[in-house]
């Protein structure tokens, strides 16, 4: 993924590996360790960095959870558009991700539950019942190939010859 965009290279480094310490980050990005620590605190305070987490291959981790993508049609509100409803939906613990989308539906809601029944009951009892939710369409994630930039289960070995002139 080409990263010659506007995002600070330091943030890109953290996205690849947030466990690198300030000294390593300093060497890789050309800054100084103390300055980097300060910058990280600033970003954490202002919400540029929302959090740090490990990206896990849930199958390997032994999880039997299901992940569902729910396409939601909303009634926009005067003076607020979709924001109030979307924020309310996003606050549910079951909701892992939530985005406003262009195209044939309004909100993409990613939900995780212990099984199909649990997800279905969340949609039926908690999501569809919200005033302003017009319709939902649910599909289930079957197999992961890549998430957050990390390939799962695919060959990523360095295939170069070990010694070349």
């Amino acid at each position: 993924m080409s990263s010659h965009d506007e995002i600070d290279p330091l943030l890109r480094l953290l996205q690849k590996d947030a466990r690198q310490n300030a000294t390593t980050l300093a060497a890789l990005s050309g800054g100084d360790a103390a300055g980097i620590e300060t910058q990280l605190r600033v970003w954490e305070e202002d919400g540029t960095i929302l959090g740090y987490h490990a990206v896990i291959d849930t199958d390997k981790a032994g999880s039997r959870n299901v992940r569902a993508h729910i396409e939601v049609d909303l009634t926009p509100e005067r003076g607020g558009g979709f924001d109030r409803l979307a924020a309310r939906i996003a606050r549910f613990d079951e909701v892992a991700e939530c985005f406003l989308m262009s195209g044939s539906y309004d909100l993409l809601v990613v939900v995780e539950g212990a099984d199909l029944r649990q997800v279905a009951s969340f949609v039926a009892e908690k999501l569809s019942t919200i005033d302003g939710v017009q319709a939902t369409s649910t599909s289930f994630q079957l197999k992961g190939y890549k998430q957050n930039g990390f390939l799962t289960d695919l060959e990523t070995e360095d295939e170069r010859l070990a010694v070349t002139p």
Binding site: D17, T24, L28, G30, R160, A162, V163, P165
Partner: protein, 403 residues
């Protein structure tokens, strides 16, 4: 090596040409074989980028194959590619070559090197070059029946080349002076002042010059006002008419296996190279030429991204090697560092073999690149950060025991 005859004539090993027999076995080859035989080695012994060729280039190649573009091209290379090369060289190196007569596309810079020596050298002609250097320079001269004259570069000069050392090596048989900066294996860059002196010397003595520019895009510390910009010797007074500029796509565009390079030189030299190339290769592979076209048209942003990535890892490597206590000068280009291991009291070979044995980390002994590499090892930092760190940890443990 001569095996006993079994009575039905000479054995194959007795039939090898003397010229080839006399070429010494590659210093890297034994080490390579040892590394291959061990599993699970973290190798800093690689000589190529750890990026795959950027996708847009691979996609252009795939598309060309789908279209059925698989035939021979013009011997000199596809005209569109030569145009782009001419523009690129003008833009990047500041010297203009006519794409119709002064540019030849080759199967890697390796082929260009072979062609230029075979085109220029009569038996006994001497080629001055600087060591430590890429392993194929001297054998290529020998295979063209020339004499390879090595000039040692020194650690106190950060392995840059002194004009006075070049001058001392000139004889009445000297025909060519060859330079390569940034350098494999040292990562050295050449200060402007010395390069200008060498150019004046070459002009004065009416010699030819070959410049291998393969690592030129991979230069670092660009924001440091103390660090000079890259200077191509062909731009200096009197040099264009006597210089062969070699460059390729392997390092900057991560196209090592695609084997695509080129030479830019005055028309009679390109013509002579073409005479050989048309019979030995006919043309560089068309799919690789397609890749090169895409690289030159759209590859600049990815080159910059890769360059920045190498620079970060260089800095990581240098800061750790300093902590470990091995002196290592700051390489201005390429993706190699050349730490000084003399304080361990070990030879380069002992260090490399010992490190491999004890810590499963591979670095290449400096002697693989010339005798003056003794006391040094080449470390390639074009490796994933976590592997780099692990390798450095291994080096640290090994050095601590050795001192």
């Amino acid at each position: 090596m001569h095996e006993a005859s079994n009575g039905t004539g000479k054995s194959p090993s007795d039939r090898i040409s003397k010229l080839v027999e006399d070429i010494p076995r590659s210093g890297i080859r034994d080490f390579f074989e040892l590394v291959q035989s061990k599993g699970d080695v973290i190798s800093l012994g690689v000589g190529e980028p750890d990026f795959a060729t950027p996708w847009h280039i691979r996609e252009a190649m795939i598309f060309s194959l789908e279209k059925g573009q698989t035939s021979y091209t013009s011997n000199l290379g596809m005209p569109q590619l030569r145009d782009l090369i001419s523009d690129y060289v003008d833009d990047f190196f500041d010297v203009r070559y006519d794409p119709n007569s002064e540019v030849i596309v080759t199967v890697g810079v390796s082929e260009a090197l072979d062609l230029v020596f075979r085109a220029l050298l009569d038996p006994g002609d001497e080629v001055i070059y600087h060591e430590p250097c890429y392993v194929s320079y001297s054998p290529s001269v020998v295979m063209a029946h020339g004499k390879a004259v090595a000039v040692a570069t020194r650690p106190e000069d950060d392995f840059s080349l002194r004009a006075s050392d070049v001058e001392a090596a000139i004889t009445d048989r000297t025909k060519v002076v060859m330079i390569n900066f940034p350098t494999n294996p040292t990562g050295a860059t050449q200060p402007r002042e010395e390069l200008e002196k060498i150019a004046r010397l070459i002009v004065e003595r009416d010699l030819l010059c070959i410049t291998d520019e393969i690592y030129s895009e991979l230069r670092y510390d660009k924001n440091d006002p103390e660090v000079e910009d890259h200077l191509c010797i062909a731009t200096l007074p009197g040099m264009r008419e006597r210089t062969i500029l070699l460059h390729g796509f392997s390092k900057a565009y991560a196209m090592t296996g695609l084997r695509l390079g080129y030479a830019c030189a005055p028309a009679p030299i390109v013509e002579a190279m073409m005479k050989i190339h048309q019979y030995s290769m006919l043309c560089a592979p068309i799919t690789s030429q397609v890749a090169a076209i895409e690289a030159l048209e759209n590859g600049a942003p990815m080159v910059e991204e890769m360059r920045r990535s190498y620079e970060g890892r260089r800095n990581l490597f240098l800061s750790r090697i300093e902590e470990i206590g091995l002196p290592c000068f700051r390489p201005g280009g390429a993706f190699y560092a050349f730490p000084d291991i003399r304080k361990t009291g070990l030879t380069s070979s002992e260090f490399a073999f010992g490190l491999l044995e004890a810590e499963n980390v591979a670095v290449v002994p400096g002697t693989a690149f010339g005798e003056c590499g003794e006391g040094f090892v080449r470390c390639c930092y074009a490796t994933a950060e976590n592997k780099l760190r692990q390798a450095l940890d291994g080096i640290e443990r090994f050095v601590a025991r050795a001192i």
